[in-house]
C-alpha cells in the first residue's frame, strides 16, 4: 500500500482535521508505531494521562481510535496514516497486540452479525408485502397521470415561458410525486427546476430532461412487456429502492478495482460521495455512492489512486454502473489502467450505452493521449487523431490540468456526454493525480 498525502487527506472530514492530521504526522508525537500484515497501530500522547490508541485496518482502510473525537477518521488516524505514507521505516513490524486483534476480530464478527440480522429481517410476510406493493404502484400510477398532464401543458404552451416560472411551479409537482411514493420522478422534476435558465443551451438541457421523464412514464405504462433489466431500471428511476442486503447476496464481480476519483457534495446535512472505480481485468466502470449525515460514518473509505481487491455487486438495471462493495479483501499494489484510444471510441461506446439506456446522463471514460488546449475562449481535450470534446464549464482546475500536460498528451479520466466532458483525474508518467 502506498498512498500519497493528498489521497490520505481526501479522507479527512473537514479542513481542521486535515490540519491536525498533518500536525500529528510527526514521529515525536507517537510513543509507539507498529504494523502487521493487516494493520497499522500507534500510541499518541494526548492531553490525558494515557496515550490514545489508534489503529488502521490496512486491508479495508478503516480507522479506530480511543480519543474522544466524534470526527471520522479522527486526526490521530489521519496523522498515523500520513506518517506511514511518508516513511514506512518508522514502523516496527511486530505481532498485533490484544487491542488490535480484538478490534479486527470484532470487525469481522460485526460483518457476520450484520448478515445474520439481515437474514432474519428477510423473513417477512409475503402476502402483506405484495399488498403493500400493489397499493404503492396504484399511487405511483396516479402520480404519473398528474405528471403527464403537467408535462403536456408545458409542451402545448412551449418552453419559451419556462424561465419566468416561479420555483414553486416545479417544487409543487415534485412534492406531489413524493406523496405518490415516486421519489425518483420527484428528483427528475426537481432537476428540471434547477436548470440555469441564464446559461446558453438551457433549452436542450430542459427538453432532454423532459424527454427522460416522458420515457419513464411511457416505459412504466408498458412495464410488463419489458425485459427484467429494463423493469428494474424503470422501477429505480421511479424511486423503488433495491434492497442492498439482497443485492449483496447476488454473485459479485471480483477484480482489482482502481479508485479513479472521489467527489463529495454537501447539501444541508447530507453528504453525497461519488466514487468512480475501474476493474483492471473486467475493464468495467463502477460507481459507488455513499450517503451520510453529519456524525455518521461512511461505510467504506476509498482512496483515489489506490486499488482494492474486491467483489462488487452491480445494481439491477440496464448496463448499470452503480455498485456496492460486497467484499473487500485488501488494498493491492496499483496496476496500470488502459483507456480508450480516442474520443471517437468513447462516443461510439457511449452512444451504444444510451441506445440501450436512454436515461444515462453521463458516461465515465479513461482516455489515452489527450492534450488539453485553449482554443479562442474554448477549453478542449484533443486526442491523438486530432479530434476533441469541450471541457465542461464548471471544471475549475484547467490551469492545473494544463500545467500537468505542458502541451503534451496525458492519460485522463473524465465523465460527460456527447461533446462535453469533465476531467476528474490524470496520469503523468503513470503517476495518478486527482483534479
Amino acid at each position: 500500500m502506498n498512498f500519497s498525502e493528498e489521497q490520505i487527506l481526501a479522507l479527512a472530514p473537514d479542513e481542521s482535521s486535515k490540519k491536525s492530521g498533518r500536525e500529528l504526522a510527526n514521529p515525536s508525537k507517537w510513543v509507539k508505531r507498529e504494523l502487521s500484515e493487516r494493520a497499522l497501530w500507534g500510541e499518541c500522547q494526548g492531553s490525558g494521562k494515557l496515550p490514545y490508541q489508534t489503529q488502521i485496518d490496512l486491508a479495508n482502510i478503516a480507522f479506530k481510535c480511543s480519543c474522544p473525537s466524534r470526527k471520522f477518521p479522527c486526526k490521530h488516524g489521519l496523522g498515523l496514516l500520513l506518517l506511514y505514507s511518508r516513511d514506512q521505516k518508522l514502523f516496527t513490524k511486530t505481532a498485533e497486540p490484544d487491542w488490535v486483534i480484538n478490534w479486527l476480530d470484532k470487525r469481522s464478527e460485526r460483518e457476520e452479525k450484520k448478515s445474520e440480522k439481515k437474514e432474519k429481517e428477510k423473513k417477512v410476510d409475503p402476502v402483506a408485502q405484495a399488498k403493500r406493493q400493489e397499493n404503492r404502484i396504484k399511487r405511483v400510477e396516479d402520480g404519473m397521470a398528474d405528471l403527464k398532464l403537467w408535462m403536456q401543458d408545458i409542451v402545448r404552451n412551449g418552453l419559451i415561458n419556462i424561465p419566468g416560472k416561479d420555483p414553486s411551479y416545479f417544487e409543487n409537482v415534485s412534492r406531489r410525486l413524493v406523496d405518490a411514493q415516486a421519489p425518483g420522478l420527484a428528483g427528475m422534476v426537481r432537476t428540471l427546476g434547477n436548470i440555469n435558465f441564464f446559461a446558453d443551451g438551457w433549452q436542450t438541457l430542459f427538453f432532454d430532461q423532459l424527454i427522460r421523464i416522458y420515457l419513464v412514464l411511457e416505459g412504466f405504462s408498458h412495464i410488463g412487456q419489458l425485459s427484467d433489466e429494463m423493469q428494474e431500471e424503470l422501477k429505480t428511476l421511479v424511486g423503488f429502492t433495491q434492497n442492498q442486503e439482497e443485492l449483496k447476496n447476488e454473485a459479485g464481480v471480483r477484480d482489482e478495482w482502481y479508485v479513479l476519483s472521489r467527489r463529495t457534495e454537501k447539501e444541508d446535512n447530507l453528504t453525497t460521495e461519488r466514487n468512480w472505480l475501474y476493474g483492471i481485468q473486467t475493464k468495467r466502470y463502477a460507481l459507488i455512492l455513499q450517503f451520510y449525515v453529519k456524525g455518521q460514518l461512511p461505510e467504506t473509505s476509498l482512496v483515489p489512486g489506490s486499488s482494492i481487491d474486491a467483489d462488487l455487486v452491480f445494481y439491477k438495471g440496464v448496463n448499470s454502473m452503480r455498485a456496492l462493495i460486497k467484499e473487500q479483501r485488501a488494498v493491492v499494489s496499483k496496476k496500470e489502467v488502459v483507456g480508450f484510444p480516442s474520443w471517437n471510441e468513447v462516443l461510439s461506446s457511449s452512444g451504444e450505452a444510451v441506445a440501450l439506456n436512454p436515461w444515462i446522463t453521463s458516461v465515465p471514460a479513461i482516455v489515452e493521449n489527450v492534450t488539453p488546449l485553449l482554443l479562442t475562449g474554448k477549453r478542449i481535450l484533443k486526442d491523438e487523431n486530432g479530434e476533441a470534446v469541450v471541457i465542461s464549464d464548471h471544471f475549475e482546475e484547467i490551469w492545473k490540468l494544463l500545467s500537468l500536460s505542458g502541451g503534451k498528451p496525458i492519460r485522463l479520466f473524465a465523465v460527460g456526454r456527447e461533446q462535453s466532458f469533465e476531467p476528474l483525474s490524470a496520469w503523468v508518467d503513470n503517476q495518478y493525480i486527482a483534479l
Binding site: N26, I211, V354, P358, G386, V389, L402, G407, E418, Q419
Partner: protein
Amino acid sequence: MKAWDEIINKALLGSEKAPLTAADLPLEITNAYDVQESPDKEDTFLKISAMANQYRQGGARPFKVTDTLLPIAHPESKEYCSKQANEMLKVVLDEDIAGLLLFWLRLCSSSNQLAHPEIIPSLLNAAQRKKEIRTIIHNVAGERGKWLCDLNPEWNFTQAQTDAARTWSEGTAEERKELLTSLRKTDPDAGRKYLESSWATEGANEKTAFLEIMKVNASDGDLVWVESLKEKAKKVNDAILALLKLIPSSAVIREYEGVLSNCVQLKTGKALLGMISKTEVVIDETYAFPESIFKTGIEKMSSNKDISDGQNIIAQLTMQVPPSFWNRHLQRTTEEIIELMQKSKQAAFYLPAIAIASVHFNDQTWTKVILEKADKDLFDRSIVALIEGLSDDERTKYALKFIERHPAEIVQLMLSNEKEWSLDLTKAILRYTAREVYQYNKQFYKQAVALIPASILNHLDSFTPSEDQRKPYWQTQRDELARLLMIKQQTLQSFNA
C-alpha cells in the same frame, strides 16, 4: 444537428402553435422505423422528440481540430523537488502560511530544484498577489511556469521582468514605478538612466513620483543630473530638493554644513584652577543665518515656546547633514563628540537631531555608537529607527537590548528580518507576545514562523502569562506556533532528505 435545432425551436413555441410530425424527423429514422403519431398532439411531440434525441446522442462525435494550437513546454534543466517537499508546499499554500511560503521557495531555489507542475498554477496565483515573491517563484516554476505565463495574461508579469526597456517605454504608470523601484535597489545608475531618457516627456505627477523613488540608494552618481534639473512646477522642485538633501555632496547640504561650521565650535579652556584643560562644545544660537537657507525648506520661526528660533534652525540643519560632518568639523571621534555634547546641556539638545540624521543617511557607525554609548532617554524616540537601519545581526543585538523599552515597535521591526531570530531574541519576543496574547494572534505567528527557530519548541511552556484569563488564549496560540514550527521542520527535512 439541424433536425434537433428545429425541434427545439418548435418546442419553444409549443405544440399548439408549432406541432411536430414524423416528417420533422431525419430520413434515417423514418426509413428505419414506422413512426406512429398518436391523436394527442403533445404525446406525438414528445414521442418524436424522444426519437430525435436518441438519434442525436447516439450519433454524437468529437469535432476535428486542425491547427496546432499550443506550443509544448521546454524540458526542464533542473530536477523536481522531492514528493515530500511538494506535499509541504501544498500545506503551506492551502493554509496560506505567508512566512513559510518564502521559506519553502528559498529552500527550493537554493537547492536548485523545481516545484512540481501540478502546483505551479497555485504558485503563480500567489505571485500575482505578492510582487515581492515573483522573481523567486519564477525561478522555482521553471520552464513549465514560463509556458503557463505565456498562456495566461494574468500571469504575464514574468514578461515585464525580462524586458525592462519595453516596460519603461510602454508599461503602465504602476509598472514603470515598480521597475524603477526594483532597479534603484539593484542597479541605481541604470534606474536613473531610464528616468533621464524620458524625463522631458513625463508629466509633473510622474516626475514627482519618480523622484520619490529615486531616494532609494540616492548617491553622488545622481548629483550632476538632479542638480541640472530646471522645472516649472513647484511640487517637482520640492521633490528635487528633497532628493538633493539625501546626497551628501549636494550644494544644499554643503551650504548647511557651512552654516553649522560657523555656529558650532569646540572651545578649550582651563579647569580645576588651571590644572587641567577642558574642552566643550559651544553653539552660537544667535548667529545671523543667511536668508538662502530659508528658501530650501528650513523654518525660520520656532513653533515651540521652549525652543528659540536659533535652536530650532540649528536643530533642523543638524538633522539634514550627514553625521560624519561632525567628525570632520570637530576633528574628534564619534564617541568623543557624543561624550562632549552630553556634558553640555546646550549641546545635548541637538543629539536627537544627530540621531535622526544617522537614520536619514543610514550612517551605521554613528548609529551603533549612539545605541551603545548615548544617554537612552535623549535618544528614546529614535531608537527603533536607528535599529532599523542596521544589518540583521546588528539588529538582533540591539533589538534584544531595547525590547523592554519598545516591545511592540521592535517586534514589528524584527518581522522584516531576513535571517532567523536568535534563540535569546525569540524568547524575549515571545515573553512579550504571550503576555499581549489578544494582540498577537495566529496570523502573527503565521507571518513570523520562518523567523522563529524550531529550538524554541522546548521552551514554549515557559512563556505562559501569569493572568489566568490570558492562559487559555496563549495555549491556543502556543499550539498553533508549535504546529507551524513542525511544518517548518518538516519542510526543512524534505529538502535535506
